[in-house]
Symmetry: C2
Subunit: 157 residues, 2 copies
Amino acid sequence: MRKTILFAIVLLSASPVRAADPVPYPEGYRHWHHVKSMVIEAGHPLYDSFGGIHHIYANDKALQGYRSGRFADGAVIVFDLLDAKSENHAIVEGARKVIGVMRRDAKRYAATGGWGFEAFGGDSRERVVGAQADTACFQCHAGQRERAYLFSQLRDR
Amino acid sequence: MRKTILFAIVLLSASPVRAADPVPYPEGYRHWHHVKSMVIEAGHPLYDSFGGIHHIYANDKALQGYRSGRFADGAVIVFDLLDAKSENHAIVEGARKVIGVMRRDAKRYAATGGWGFEAFGGDSRERVVGAQADTACFQCHAGQRERAYLFSQLRDR
């Protein structure tokens, strides 16, 4: 009996409820709802990390979350960052620099506000955050706790 | 019999195959596929008309058209123009200035390359092109004949 309980505890410990669970690549996000966009230029405090033009995309659950303020598990938000090239008094999109992904799972990612964080370099599937989600992502997002840890708000029109 | 034929001719003349048919407001376009974006700044030759940040959205038929080069009747493309506000070394989206709409119907809009053109001011349903599609829209788009009369190309990634 004691062995059985111990085994159950070990099983529970090995269950997927842990902060380091990798966030999957957001397949098909380019067809999701386009939430808003922004250009970050030289001189902006986040230019080194996020300089360029970025678009925010939300899957259906995330779109509902933006509206209600409550994000269900499975809500996914993508921050899609492209180079911003100046051409003849216009800013046009260049190559993809990185995509950032936030995936909601209140239990799995409890250590980082209920959101899993990951980023994929360029057009690749190469993970550039991995186990660094806490320091590389959440330390900034933590300040947005009152806004569900998000910087973006829905431009619902 | 002659009366019947005459009546049929009148009916045909009154059929919807005419260039002035109004292009309907593109309901739900904010959920369509986001094709690409661009910022037009002061100094650009189109700044007076199109200054700001614009996003291009395509319905499913238009998305297929971008990919195949052949646009089926019912394909709709939206040019969504917002104010571009400079804030702390960033460009953020402001109020909507206008949406431009191209709707494919090869017969109905044969006089303007098979595309109907319309624009709606701000967030309203107020038509700002109406019967001026030829001079206000098509005269520029005509130069893009080899590209299905479009300026935008799909950023298919």
